[in-house]
């Protein structure tokens, strides 16, 4: 297997000088599904945005598909896909109009975009809505369009930031199955989420970050053996220092009285 993402001593700070990432080191192999988890504000989205070439101001070395993100961002962007955390779409467009726009940004031909858009929208159950403006869509429907827009150009690496948000149970099962089949097809998936049991089930390797640093990196089995815990939830709680939930819950109930 070849290394498709390599990060060395990655650091980044907010405008006010506060460090978000404090020296991340990570390697990802082709065809892996990486579960990238951490508490709010740990630096997950910032890492992903740097890997996508969206944040140019960072220190350290970042290579994606063997190329330096600082100098070859344009080449890298052609081969990666991104599904952001919040449904960032041009809502006054219809799904087909939006996907056509996105497809053209990847220099795809209109005929191919049209065919793919219609097929994919049909497969996720939106065939009756292809000509409706998206400002009338539910959160789950927008999330489906967002997912397709991140995959339509058939990227080598897919970055997913909370991709299951707002989806119904059947759609969640479908997305999980799509991810599994993408892996079989040799695609690399960088998956960031708060839903631990999904991360636990689909990831080949789980990377936990806290306060801008990697605090665990290994397969679920390895992490389980290290932490002597049964579930990813427990491991996560132990590692991120928030293992006081039981006492907090008791206090909560007392306050209700």
């Amino acid at each position: 297997m070849s290394t498709v993402i390599s990060i060395e001593n990655l650091q980044n700070s907010y405008g006010d000088g506060q460090l978000v990432l404090k020296g991340i080191n990570l390697e990802v192999q082709a065809g892996e599904i990486i579960g990238y988890i951490g508490p709010n504000g740990a630096g997950k989205s910032t890492t992903i945005k740097i890997l996508l070439g969206m944040i140019p101001s960072f220190t350290g070395e970042v290579r994606v598909l063997g190329q330096d993100i600082r100098t070859e961002a344009m080449e890298i962007k052609k081969q990666v896909g991104y599904v952001p955390e919040n449904a960032a779409l041009y809502e006054v467009l219809t799904p087909v109009e939006y996907l056509t726009f996105i497809g053209r940004l990847y220099s795809m031909s209109d005929a191919v975009i049209q065919r793919k858009a219609e097929d994919l929208l049909h497969l996720v159950g939106l065939s009756n809505h292809i000509n409706s403006r998206m400002n009338t869509f539910s959160k789950g429907m927008r999330q489906k369009v967002l997912l397709i827009s991140g995959l339509i150009h058939n990227p080598e690496i897919i970055f997913l930031d909370e991709p299951l948000s707002g989806l119904d149970a059947n759609a969640v099962i479908l997305v999980k199955e799509i991810l599994a089949q993408l892996k079989t097809a040799g695609k690399t998936i960088f998956y960031s989420s708060h839903i631990m049991d999904v991360v636990e089930k689909i990831s080949d390797r789980i990377v936990i970050i806290n306060q801008g640093q990697v605090i665990a990196n290994g397969s679920f089995e390895e992490l389980k053996a290290q932490a002597h815990s049964g579930s990813l939830e427990r491991i996560f709680q132990g590692l991120t220092g928030d293992d006081t939930t039981q006492s907090k819950a008791s206090e909560f109930l007392q306050a209700l009285q």
Binding site: D16, Y90, L93
Partner: protein
């Protein structure tokens, strides 16, 4: 229209390629931007048009601008000199382009969605930047052309077609000044505020613009009478040097009159040199730091945007709520309504422009004085203040009706889930908050204005007018809500069914003048004002009492 713009761009693609732009990508982005413009809401389109699912909103925007431009252009026939007429017309172009940029583009400018969509894609920064520039330039150029369309024709008719090209070129100079002013404003606002505050400030500008519109239709025809005042304006006064549109007008005037004296030369020099200098300052100093600040806002986000409501800032609200409400549910609705109406930006956008109605009212009342047709003493003898008092009710009605709408309308499930036995508590709490928070201060200001003209003897009439507004507003709720609704439970874009609205309008059209006439009659009788206070007091009391008979089964 988008296709014509794209057709033009296609002719220029060689130029874009020479500049290192990926033309196909740029075209794609520009196409989507114009498509979205066509479907976006524009501040200058009335609410009626905004609610329509139209695909040609841009054309409507340009059409309205052309009409307004024609109205302003009429100064070319009224004003005694070309200089003064063009100062007004070009001043309007500058003000209008700047306002449109602030209102219609602020949402796009401050919207980080665009970055989230475009930045991860394989499009160079140069291409994205050029696409944004082309889009904005196209929009402003079309806007300017639509505004100056009729004034250009008027210039040609009145002053000859030779100076038309100069006029058109100078209108584009005016746009440069407008772009500079807008950037300057943004810089100042962004420099001192967080993103949320910026949005607030922009919505206040939008509100001011709507008021300007509402009032403008009333003021313009009355201004025309001021033509007599303007007759003396032939020479270049000192204030001309301080007004950018006067510089531009001076240049046209110099060509037209072939007067190459010092004042004309100074104005012309300012017209030619200042706009490019402003744009240089803009691109060199203002724009980069502005972009940087915006990027900062986008990345830091939430911390800076946090709006803390300190306990001390709640001030009199808990006390007031306790004093005017009779039950916990009524108090809860009162406080909710008070807070939402004060904080919800969109609510303010829908409601506050109604305050513009006070401006035409002013003109109805003191307009004759301004025109010199009547003196204040003559006005005092009449009872025009009654017109004011009764027309103001419309403002109370608008505000109250809007409290039934909210962008967070889905949150009204709490009323269904909560164990509130008597729904009238919710209606009354909301009614009281709407009246005390908005209408009372508004009415007080209006009353001070009327008192300052007519004196204390109209105080009983003002009190009666206040009670009348409350009475009709509470009555409106009965007429409108044949299916009762709880506050903040309706989606804003859903229009009330036509029949019911018409019924309400007919009621107001009948009730306002009839009650006004009765009141006018009462003022002729000693103690008539007090009688009206009593009458409206009793009527209000009985409507509010009738609320108590409301049952949940009457609600939607």
């Amino acid at each position: 229209m988008t296709s014509s713009i794209l057709w033009l761009l296609d002719r220029l693609q060689g130029l874009f390629r020479m500049l290192g732009v990926d033309y196909a990508m740029m075209r794609n982005i520009v196409e989507v931007k114009f498509t979205m413009d066509n479907r976006r809401n524009h501040a200058s389109l009335g609410k009626r048009y905004q609610e329509k699912e139209s695909s040609q909103r841009l054309l409507m925007v340009y059409g309205i601008n052309a009409l307004l431009g024609g109205l302003i252009g009429s100064f070319l026939f009224i004003a005694p000199s070309l200089l003064l007429a063009l100062t007004i017309v070009l001043g309007y172009v500058i003000a209008w382009v700047a306002l449109t940029l602030i209102t219609d583009y602020s949402e796009l400018l401050l919207d980080t969605t665009d970055n989230l969509i475009l930045l991860p894609r394989p499009v160079s920064d140069r291409t994205v930047w050029m696409a944004r520039l082309v889009h904005l330039t196209g929009y402003i150029t079309l806007l300017t052309l639509s505004i100056i369309l009729l004034p250009t024709v008027f210039v040609g008719i009145k002053y000859g077609w030779v100076i038309v090209p100069v006029f058109v070129l100078l209108s584009l100079q005016a746009v440069l000044i407008a772009v500079f002013l807008t950037t300057l404003l943004y810089m100042l606002v962004v420099r001192f505020s967080s993103q949320e505050r910026v949005k607030d400030i922009i919505s206040y500008i939008q509100i001011a613009m709507s008021i300007f519109f509402t009032a403008g239709y009333q003021i313009m025809p009355r201004m025309i009478r001021f033509g007599e005042v303007m007759e003396a304006e032939h020479s270049i006064r000192t204030w001309y040097y301080a007004v950018p549109s006067a510089w531009l007008a001076g240049l046209v005037d110099m060509f037209y009159q072939r007067q190459y004296d010092t004042p004309h030369l100074i104005l012309s020099a300012l017209a030619i040199l200042v706009p490019p200098a402003l744009i240089y300052v803009n691109s060199k100093y203002l724009a980069p730091s502005f972009t940087k600040k915006l990027a900062g806002l986008a990345s830091t986000g939430s911390e800076e945007d946090k709006v803390v409501v300190e306990k001390s800032r709640r001030g009199l609200l808990p006390w007031l709520a306790e004093a005017v409400t009779n039950s916990p549910a009524e108090r809860a609705t009162f406080e909710l309504s008070w807070n939402i109406t004060g904080r919800d930006r969109r609510f303010k956008m829908r409601t506050y422009p109604a305050m513009g109605s006070i401006v035409p009212l002013l003109f109805v009342i003191i307009g004759p004085v301004l025109n010199g047709r009547q003196s204040f003493d003559q006005i005092r003898e009449g009872a025009l203040y009654l017109v004011g008092i009764y027309v103001l009710q419309v403002v109370a009605g608008t505000f109250y009706a809007n409290t039934y709408q909210s962008d967070d309308y889905k949150a009204s499930w709490v009323y269904d889930a909560a164990p509130v036995a008597d729904p009238s508590e919710l209606i009354l709490g909301n009614f009281k908050a709407a009246i005390l928070k908005f209408y009372t201060p508004f009415y007080l200001v209006s009353s001070v204005l009327l008192l300052s003209i007519w004196g204390w003897h109209i105080i009983d009439d003002l009190l009666a007018g206040y009670l009348f507004a409350l009475f009709v507003t509470s009555l409106e709720a009965w007429v409108k809500n044949s299916n009762w609704k709880v506050p903040f439970s309706q989606e804003p874009k859903v229009k009330a069914e036509a029949g019911r609205t018409t019924l309400m309008l007919i009621m107001i059209m009948l009730v306002l003048p009839v009650c006004g006439l009765i009141h006018w009659g009462a003022t002729k009788v000693p103690g008539g004002g007090l009688f009206m206070v009593l009458l409206y007091g009793v009527l209000l009391w009985s409507t509010l009492k009738s609320y108590r008979r409301l049952r949940w089964s009457q609600f939607e």
